[in-house]
Point group: C2
Chain length 218, copies 2
DNA sequence: CGTAATGTTGACAAGGGTCAAGCTTAGTGG
DNA sequence: CCACTAAGCTTGACCCTTGTCAACATTACG
């Protein structure tokens, strides 16, 4: 399951450019950057491709993941409006990136010899710390702790509002947390029964007892 | 278990400086860098401390890890001669670093406004990719696959020799792979029974069937 | 309204954790 | 040099969490 979708619909360049997300500092208006629209489940880049740009989400959401040969998938991160992804080490992508839902992504072409390194470095370091913290969740926490950490993280990334929209489906959450969809679903149900959350719909969650969830995260 | 060791023996500055590890490019001889000796199990830095330097292992080995409040530990990486660690996002350490065995570590003081960003960026990106790949191992592979991946990785980092020295103990391997020491030990035994490895001693492993191990990794 | 995709729930199995005992090795001191 | 000790490692028995398989419910969509 969860093989990367084969189709890659031709992304469209955006015509209008009314932006709420500021251009990355260091990439002045003269620099090459352009907004591209990706339909839901379309590929933004694939493993093995040459890495030519950094990407910033303008709207929608993106998943970045890796696959094992038998199809097992690990999502290393979700990215929503304002967040940057696409960091690669040796000029080639080691991961896949796909739009979760219809998404606008600004591609910043990388100058061959990066004078923008001092702009990119903080972003890369932040990504590194986030990934290492995720490693702790995956490596040492149980299902309830992982889901709680996920919900709290999502809440904080959506401005701290108690009611959050999960753009991704259960499969994505499972592959992000190293769990099966059944375990994710059951954990949601347990949280609902315990009064920690309210499932407005399967994709809309109200965090009722944030403190309880937070204390679960360790 | 595995709480960070409280004692922090005063590290000694090295007198002689016969080096096999080249100084990081960008940190010229004029830059501030200095070799420090850390005894086994001594702390190099701790979570919450101000991050003032990058570190490169000259000899010995280092573990970088994070703790949950109940003592569960996740080692995000091991570092041996030539490897660099200590990347942090916001000026403070989010992790602990300890010498596994007696280790020489060169500390590169970070200039406040980093002109060396373009030197550091590739290292940070490499660390990011490594961590994301480790995430796949932890999140989606079973015990045998994790241990196989660990052994193959260790082999490659020690020059590809079939006989490798594991400087870390089983507890460290477990906390790196998200497993208990018992499971690590049992998996080693299974590999031995299957003829994949030979346990010369508990810390010395000969990889007899590298291909078998490699195909286990996915 | 019908169909497919997505999500939920239950029964069962298995992989890995926990607890406990014993073994091996290294270090220490008589 | 050997005995004692402690730390580290291995192995076994048992159990629990999570995965697997299956059925069913719900939602989205044509």
């Amino acid at each position: 399951m969860s093989a990367p979708l084969a189709h890659r619909p031709a992304p469209q360049k955006s015509q209008k450019d009314a932006r709420s997300i500021p251009v990355l500092p260091g990439f002045a208006a003269t620099q090459q950057h352009q907004l591209v629209l990706y339909p839901a489940n379309s590929e933004i880049y694939g493993q093995g491709e040459k890495a030519v740009a950094l990407y910033q989400v303008e709207f929608g959401a993106v998943r970045v993941f890796r696959l094992l040969s038998d199809g097992r998938r690990q999502i290393s991160g979700f990215y929503v409006a304002g967040e940057v992804f696409g960091f690669e080490a040796d000029g080639y992508h080691h991961f896949f990136a796909e739009a979760i839902c219809s998404a606008g992504v600004r591609a910043y072409r990388l100058p061959p010899s990066a004078e923008v390194a001092h702009e990119i470095l903080p972003l890369a370091l932040q990504a590194l710390v986030r990934t290492q913290e995720h490693l702790l969740v995956i490596g040492r926490q149980n299902a309830a702790e992982r889901v709680a950490a996920f919900l709290v993280d999502m809440m904080e990334r959506q401005g701290g509002l108690r009611q959050i929209e999960l753009v991704m489906q259960r499969t994505d959450i499972g592959d992000y947390l190293g769990l099966t969809i059944e375990t994710v679903s059951r954990t949601f149900s347990r949280f609902r029964e315990a009064g920690y959350i309210r499932l407005v719909s399967s994709r809309t969650v109200e965090l009722v007892k944030v403190d309880a969830l937070r204390s679960l995260c360790g």
